[in-house]
């Protein structure tokens, strides 16, 4: 299940700056993973040439370290369950991928725990998200927004 901690988070596992963390921890095989390739195409509009080369329609051939902060954070969520990543590095266009990664992990009986500091738009389809601060499960955007704001988590 997708679990979200809203607001400030104090934890040894918490990575505030996933962009820098990614640059220093990513494995080559993460980049050529089919899901990574899809996310890089969707978010950055770029093609994966190889583990260390990305073809960006705007920036040309760039090293993997110059992927967007959003897509780096998504790849980390998918590949590293040891840490809790700051999903505020991701825009609304990453929301569907966060839900997708959480579903994939759930199939492997794992949870995805992330931190958010803003009200990301998870779309209009029903979902299941646990607001981790409260242990409350919400099922749609309205429930999520009201739970977070009623409890002054942001």
């Amino acid at each position: 299940m997708l679990k979200i901690h809203y607001g400030e988070l104090v934890s040894e596992k918490y990575i505030f700056n996933p962009d820098a963390f990614f640059n220093n921890t990513y494995e080559d095989d993460w980049i050529v993973d089919p899901l990574s390739i899809q996310m890089i195409k969707d978010i950055d509009g770029s093609e994966v040439v190889g583990p260390r080369a990305i073809d960006s329609p705007f920036l040309g051939l760039i090293p993997t370290e110059r992927l967007s902060g959003g897509v780096k954070t998504l790849i980390l969520m998918n590949k590293d369950q040891e840490h809790i990543f700051n999903a505020s590095a991701c825009g609304d266009n990453c929301a569907k991928w966060i839900l997708h990664i959480a579903r994939e992990l759930q199939n492997r009986r794992k949870d995805l725990l992330i931190r958010l500091g803003y009200l990301m738009d998870f779309g209009t389809e029903p979902f299941e998200i646990e607001v981790e601060n409260l242990g409350i499960i919400v099922h749609n955007g309205k429930e999520l927004v009201e739970t977070v704001l009623d409890n002054r988590l942001l």
Partner: protein, 323 residues
């Protein structure tokens, strides 16, 4: 620092256009829209100047502030536009908010998280977008900023409840203008709670747009999700409405080019500037302004009508019903 600054930053692949007119500008929005690339270009230009192959055109210095020795660096900066990326944890600190107050700098901050300690304007929250049509012609990415929140009033509303941020003069004035209850929220952070708890069928929320930026994302997201018939009206501030109404004589440029008057060294937000301007320009007159208590001269039929005239047509009450 005062003024409006056009900023153009480019290399042979990307080209950015920005306009900065207040001490605090926020950049947010989707991933991969070029926010980090913008900061990277400015940082690289700072390190290597023309040798970087990057061009930065701006009348004042553009600089990047990172987490490294940020207090020391910020303390030494003057007359600059300071760009800060979301990876700088200090932007949410009390110390940073203290240093922004009175700073002779403008700040452009990339962040999706709200900065509750800073009173930034709903008008200065931007996203970045790419002009694809230019890319096809010039083989270069042209990025420009766009306002993230449409603060215009587009819906006709006859409210049965008016909410204001606080119980000050603005609330007292709107209570006279609208023929329905006019309740104070008890501060900008309470606006959501008041809307949420209200069972009224049509709610008009009047906020001080010049300082409501940190709450805007939350309130607008809630309004999008809920079925409340609620209109958010965000003039700069109540004092701005008075100045605009013609009750007292105000040079046009004070309102149209506020950026030339609202010195960041003196005013943390334009709300503070308009309040100060109104207090100073009405001192010793019958219109002597007091923020906490609306004076009698502002309650006459004539002055109330002038304030009504500057409200958007969609939320203007019948002239007859205004008391």
């Amino acid at each position: 620092m005062i003024g409006k600054y056009e900023i153009e930053i480019y290399n042979n692949r990307v080209h950015y256009f920005l306009t900065v007119r207040r001490n605090i500008t926020i950049l947010q929005g989707n991933s991969a829209t070029g926010k980090t690339e913008l900061i990277r270009l400015i940082g690289e230009y700072e390190q290597n100047g023309v040798s970087s192959g990057i061009t930065v055109k701006c009348d004042v210095r553009c600089t990047v502030l990172t987490s490294v020795d940020w207090e020391l660096r910020l303390g030494a900066l003057k007359g600059s536009i300071v760009f800060i990326d979301e990876t700088a944890a200090f932007i949410k600190s009390k110390r940073f908010a203290e240093m922004v107050r009175g700073a002779d700098n403008y700040f452009v901050i990339v962040t999706r998280d709200d900065l509750n300690q800073l009173p930034y304007s709903v008008e200065e929250i931007y996203g970045l977008r790419t002009d694809i049509s230019k890319y096809k012609r010039f083989r270069k990415v042209y990025n420009e900023i766009y306002k993230l929140y449409n603060t215009g009033v587009n819906t006709q509303l006859k409210p049965d409840l008016v909410l204001t941020e606080d119980s000050n003069s603005g609330n007292q004035c709107f209570a006279q203008i609208y023929n329905c209850p006019c309740e104070p929220a008890g501060g900008k952070s309470q606006v959501y709670n008041k809307i949420r708890r209200s069972e009224n069928s049509s709610i008009l929320v009047i906020i001080d747009g010049a300082a409501f930026g940190s709450e805007m994302g939350k309130v607008s997201r809630y309004l999008l999700q809920s079925n409340k018939n609620c209109v958010l009206y965000a003039p700069e501030s109540f004092e701005y409405l008075i100045l605009k109404s013609g009750i007292i004589s105000v040079p046009d440029e004070v309102l149209q080019e506020t950026f030339m008057f609202a010195d960041s060294c003196r005013y943390l937000s334009w709300e503070e500037f308009y309040t100060s301007y109104l207090i100073e320009s009405t001192a010793g007159t019958i219109y002597k302004y007091n923020k906490s208590q609306l004076g009698e001269a502002y309650r006459t039929t004539g002055t109330i009508r002038k304030i009504i005239n500057v409200l958007p047509e969609q939320i203007r009450p019948d002239p007859e019903s205004a008391g």
